[in-house]
């Protein structure tokens, strides 16, 4: 068994919610284990979203979404330095293209103020077009929210995870939860594919599968409904023809709408749409022709000239929509010790650190004798991103470690040193996509054509496994096969 057999807290789910909670808990003298069913953390909804840290004007006043969003946004302003997070506070615009939409924009302004969002302003069409000149001339005005930003979403989860492990928490990947042991209405253990962990508290941060996990303990008080969102991502060279910040359309009742948005690395994307999926099919992340059509034509209302020739990839994510309409945060009423952190759809990414504090406070309330760790390490080793350094810094870096002098991903200028770092950090990358998420290698215009095979070979070397054992993402995603002497191919 790879995980310890006993823990104070087991967290189910290694997305941004689960890892944020793990990090927060790791500040206390508690033995905490996070179990993740995939080969790597941050490989589901956390890796496929708009990567926006919302200001918080959107959610209904008084809701958990609203409270956690605004609190989370504030926490990220501090955490950026503390955990070396990749965040850019670009501000966001909710754009109106007619008088009716303008009314909605004004409502959002009021709601935002009620939710304690700072710095909100109503902008005129001229102000909007001055900042974002490529937007449609039909723009009538917008809501400007300076506290919004864009981030590196898997980077957030990975940072939380690394720091938690540095502070003594344990993460077990490739570990599926098969059952929850409940005795006398109290949770006492988690049965996994890698053995049983006895636990006093179990935190359900299982994303789209949170209702299934809850049912394992006998609590079927909510359901999670999957809703797919597709995206089209553009090359960095398209940025001049697109946008510099976050552009929302005026929202509808069900969705924040299809946006045009930048990333922290200078790409731009359009998306997501909102497609309700079958409750049985929570893993369908196929990109569809209708979805791409819908995204592009909707985005054209905001940005008439989208350079479709500059698209470099398309992807989609599944939202975990809760049956209650809000985040489900709190101890289960049926099973004592089972704490739900479920239904975390937008603004889940923004809310994560606030949800972490909230969930931790629930545990601490029940465990008043637990002390804070005296030697809690707040930071994690800084990422050395070769392409963001000055020439002098680059020269120095290569002198220190010559592997920073070999460029592996030529589109994004990512070096072997960074790839080695990504593999060897706590909870390091162990798949091609895991390395990609930690370094950006493979995210450029050739989409891993040049660096993919090289990264596969580096993983093979560093993990001491044959090249054919290296996986792209999931356990069944073999990259390459042996040449057989007799027939082609060998498993």
């Amino acid at each position: 068994m790879n995980a310890s057999e006993k823990a104070d807290v087991v967290i189910i789910g290694g997305g941004v919610t689960g890892t944020a909670i793990l990090r927060e808990l790791s500040k206390y003298e508690l033995k905490c284990i996070l179990v993740e069913k995939e080969l790597d953390i941050a490989s589901e909804t956390t890796k496929a979203n708009s990567a926006i840290l919302h200001a918080g004007f959107d959610a209904k006043q008084g809701s958990m979404k609203a409270k956690m969003n605004v609190a989370g946004n504030r926490l990220y302003h501090e955490l950026k330095q503390e955990l070396d997070l990749d965040i850019e506070w670009t501000g966001s615009l909710v754009v109106a293209t007619d008088a009716v939409e303008m009314e909605t924009v004004k409502e959002l302004f009021t709601r935002g103020r009620e939710n304690s969002v700072e710095g909100l302003e109503i902008w005129s069409a001229e102000q909007v077009l001055k900042t974002e000149p490529n937007l449609s001339q039909e723009v009538k005005g917008a809501l400007w929210a300076p506290t919004a930003g864009v981030c590196w979403p898997f980077g957030m989860a990975i940072a939380f995870a690394e720091n938690a492990v540095i502070n003594g928490a344990e993460i077990v990947r490739n570990c599926t939860v098969e059952g929850l042991d409940v005795v006398d209405g109290k949770i006492c253990g988690v049965r996994t594919s890698q053995g049983t962990i006895k636990a006093k508290y179990v935190i359900n941060a299982a994303g789209v599968h949170a209702d299934e996990i809850s049912r394992l303990a006998g609590d079927n008080s909510f359901t999670i409904h999957p809703r797919k969102g597709e995206y089209v991502l553009f090359d960095k060279t398209a940025r001049e023809q697109m946008v510099k910040g976050i552009i929302f359309p005026t929202p509808s009742k069900t969705s924040k709408g299809i946006l045009v948005c930048t990333t922290t690395h200078g790409n731009t994307f359009v998306g997501p749409n909102a497609q309700d999926m079958d409750d049985d099919d929570k893993e369908d992340t196929a990109v569809t022709p209708q979805g791409m059509q819908e995204i592009l034509s909707s985005a054209r209302k905001l940005l008439p000239n989208i350079p479709v020739g500059a698209a470099i990839t398309e992807f989609s994510g599944i939202r975990a929509v809760s049956s209650t309409g809000d985040f489900i945060l709190g101890e289960s009423e049926k099973v004592s010790g089972l704490i739900q952190a479920a239904g975390i759809q937008s603004p889940g990414l923004t809310s994560a650190p606030a949800i972490a504090e909230y969930i931790t406070s629930i545990v601490l309330k029940k465990e008043p004798d637990i002390q804070k760790k005296a030697n809690f390490k707040r930071n994690r080793p800084k990422h050395k991103m070769f392409h963001r350094l000055s020439h002098e810094e680059q020269a120095e870096l290569v002198r220190e470690n010559k592997l920073y002098g070999r460029v592996i991903c030529r589109c994004e200028t990512i070096t072997e040193g960074e790839i080695m770092d990504a593999i060897h950090r706590p909870c390091g990358g162990c798949t091609v996509d895991g390395v990609k998420r930690r370094t950006r290698a493979g995210m450029g215009r050739c989409q891993g054509g040049f660096c993919g095979p090289r990264i596969t070979q580096i993983l093979s070397r560093e993990l001491g496994i044959p090249v054919t054992a290296v996986r792209k993402e999931s356990a069944d995603s073999q990259m390459f096969y042996e040449k057989d002497q007799k027939n082609g191919g060998n498993a």
Partner: protein, 123 residues
């Protein structure tokens, strides 16, 4: 007397003439459609005993890479190409290798050698 027509594309030059050959009892009696004599020569060979060049790789030990590209010195019977390729898959050689070195002599007894396409240094 069985008469049949066969149509093929000549691959000798970029024109790619579409050539029709007539055969009587398996013997070529006419070739039409070619723009030059090379087309007729190709057609006759292609219909009686087609031949192809083979390029592939063999396993290499002690070199910078684990494969050595190889090429047949001349054409091989077309129907033997797949078995020759299969035979090469179990060949292992050691670096250093010079371009032109015979890697597999008289492959499958067909009278054609397979030679190294490039140098490979020992590392």
């Amino acid at each position: 007397m069985a008469v049949e027509k066969k149509v093929l594309t000549c691959i000798t030059c970029p024109i790619g003439c579409e050539i029709t050959a007539e055969l009587t009892d398996g013997v070529i009696t006419s070739v039409v459609g070619n723009s030059c004599p090379r087309g007729e020569k190709y057609t006759r060979e292609e219909l009686t005993a087609p031949r192809r060049m083979l390029t592939s790789t063999v396993r290499l030990e002690g070199g910078r890479m684990s494969l050595l590209p190889v090429v047949s010195e001349k054409t091989l019977p077309k129907e033997k190409i797949l078995s020759c390729a299969e035979a090469l898959r179990s060949v292992r050689v050691k670096a250093p290798i010079k371009e032109g070195t015979v890697i597999c002599e008289n492959i499958l007894g067909l009278g054609v050698n397979i030679i190294a396409s490039r140098d490979m240094e020992r590392v």
